[in-house]
């Protein structure tokens, strides 16, 4: 099985911040097949389109998947109303996740806001070789810090208002941090800055991108992203099938 739909029982629900929810679902074979950085396409009753949400944690033993999502519009608002015992119609695991490579390397994970959760499962195997730079609006929006720490990762926080950690951009924290590889997820301006930094240092960098999706599996060609081949030629790839994780060197930033 590559991917499939399944009615997944919601077994744990937490609220991590004002508008951020944390769901753990029983996902059977979907959990077994999942890799860090992949995503799920979640049906929201009454909506025509599913909502793509990254896999935050995979528990192969208990066959569960964890999702952390922010309420941004009607779909995520409805999703946040699900209660333990309810069943979610989930299509997963989708896309290409992070290519972790050797976890003995020094890795830096850069996440901005709701871009932080997709990094957790990828950072865990790096243990103390991973530095996790996580940026948030303010101290009360900080999420998942303990989760990364529990995996042995070193976490550095930045907030826009200085109410927790570094007062400024999360990318400021990159300065002077030695690393062999960078993994990033977050808003486009942050990703652009991370890619620039990676390029300057000559370290490989993988970024997880977002795009509006219909099918989620590569059939509709809806979730286009501008990419560059090694030849320099540009074309439209698709976030759901070629990504959501891309080699930073491939991505052509549009605006």
């Amino acid at each position: 099985m590559k991917y499939d739909t399944m009615l997944c029982g919601l077994i744990r629900k937490n609220r991590l911040a004002e508008d951020i929810f944390d769901f753990t679902v029983e996902a059977g074979k979907l959990a077994e097949a999942a890799c860090p950085g992949q995503f799920a396409h979640i049906y929201v009753p009454g909506k025509t389109l599913r909502r793509p949400i990254s896999i935050c944690e995979i528990d192969r033993d208990h066959k569960t998947l964890r999702f952390v999502f922010q309420v941004r519009g009607e779909g995520t608002r409805l999703l946040s109303q699900a209660e333990p015992g309810d069943r979610l119609d989930i299509l997963a695991p989708l896309g290409r996740g992070f290519d972790l490579g050797g976890t003995g390397r020094k890795a830096v994970f850069v996440g901005g806001g709701i871009g932080v959760p997709p990094l957790l499962e990828a950072a865990k195997p790096f243990g103390e070789n991973a530095a996790v730079l996580a940026g948030f609006r303010s101290g009360n929006a900080v999420i998942l810090k303990e989760d990364f720490e529990r995996a042995g990762n070193r976490v550095m926080i930045a907030t826009d208002d200085g109410s927790s950690g570094h007062h400024g951009l999360v990318t400021d924290l990159l300065a002077g941090l030695a690393c062999d590889v960078i993994f990033a997820c977050g808003p486009t301006p942050m990703l652009k800055a991370v890619c620039r930094a990676a390029k300057e240092r000559g370290v490989p960098c993988q970024v997880s991108l977002e795009q509006r999706m219909a099918c989620g599996v590569g059939a509709c060609l809806g979730c286009a992203v501008r990419l560059r081949r090694e030849t320099g030629e540009e074309y439209y790839g698709h976030v759901c099938k070629d990504g959501p994780v891309f080699d930073a060197a491939q991505v052509v930033w549009e605006d």
Partner: protein, 303 residues
């Protein structure tokens, strides 16, 4: 068990459920869910004479009970289709329909000619794609346009020719009649209705193309109406689509006059939609003692 087989312009389908063009790619992604032989047929992603990059993103927006798309016919071109996609598709045990779109009548004719030399089962003339600047929908919104393009392609097309109609017209019956008169073997309808959404924060259209094509359940009542109006004007079979998401919708379109159906947006909501619709249809027929799905076609009793 009621017979689900239908015949469209000489092409037998094991059941009336065809994957709609553009929503199913060239089949590979959905073959992960079930054998493609589950479907009566597949209308492939719209292809053009040469490769097309498609429109810049965003290409997708949601609307109440529907969605907009402005994919802009991203596709690898007809030659690639014939060499790389068609051979695999033909081993899948279902009817394969090539959906073609062009910038000029010559493009259409060249593609029809090329496809006539392959073992594709049917050609679907997409003269109604609202998401490309040239060609596409401009042929589809006047009788003269429909007639001339259909007649031109007809001369080059040795395969059963299905013309796909746009709903962005005042009188669909007239358009359908024009397609029939010009030699279409079947009609498929409806393509998407042009729509738009605006992001109220950025004041930008959600779609980079500004407008896009509306599909999904919102469209169903328009599709039912148009299929009914067209079916009263033409004798050739109609393949109905537009907003089918459950078997009841399928029955409505059949009663309105469709001989087969295409399912599009429903795949996005539920990849198993066509299987559920097929099973629901089967049970409906059996429960009502209808021997063959073909008996539903046009069985509406208008007031």
């Amino acid at each position: 068990m009621a017979d689900l087989q239908v015949n469209i312009a000489g092409v037998p389908l094991k059941n009336p459920l065809i994957a709609a063009s553009g929503t199913f790619g060239f089949g590979r992604e959905y073959s992960e869910f079930y054998p493609l032989s589950t479907l009566g047929g597949i209308s492939c992603k719209g292809i053009t004479l040469r490769e097309r990059p498609g429109n810049p993103p965003p290409r997708i927006a949601e609307t109440p009970s529907g969605m907009l798309n402005a994919v802009g016919l991203q596709n690898p071109g007809v030659d690639h289709f014939i060499e790389r996609d068609l051979p695999w598709l033909k081993t899948q045990g279902t009817v394969i329909i090539a959906n073609i779109a062009g910038n000029t009548p010559e493009d259409y004719c060249k593609m029809a000619e090329k496809l006539s030399g392959t073992d594709v089962d049917m050609v679907e003339l997409n003269i109604s794609c609202p998401n490309v600047k040239q060609g596409g929908v401009q042929f589809g919104t006047s009788c003269a346009g429909v007639e001339s393009i259909t007649a031109a392609v007809r001369r080059f097309c040795k395969k059963p020719l299905m013309v796909k109609l746009s709903p962005n017209v005042s009188d669909i019956g007239e358009i359908a009649a024009a397609a029939e008169a010009a030699g279409a073997d079947a009609i498929s309808m409806i393509n998407t209705l042009t729509g738009m959404r605006i992001d109220i924060n950025t004041r930008r259209p959600v779609l980079r193309n500004n407008t896009g094509g509306l599909s999904g359940p919102a469209l169903l009542p328009v599709a039912v109406r148009m299929v009914w109006q067209a079916s009263r004007r033409v004798k050739i079979p109609i393949v109905g689509m537009g907003g089918i998401s459950q078997w009841q919708d399928a029955v409505e379109l059949l009663l309105a006059g469709a001989s087969a159906l295409q399912i599009g947006t429903a795949f996005f909501t539920d990849p198993y939609a066509p299987v559920k619709i097929r099973d629901g249809l089967q049970q409906y027929l059996d429960r009502n003692g209808v021997a063959s799905v073909a008996e539903l076609t046009g069985a509406i009793r208008p007031w």
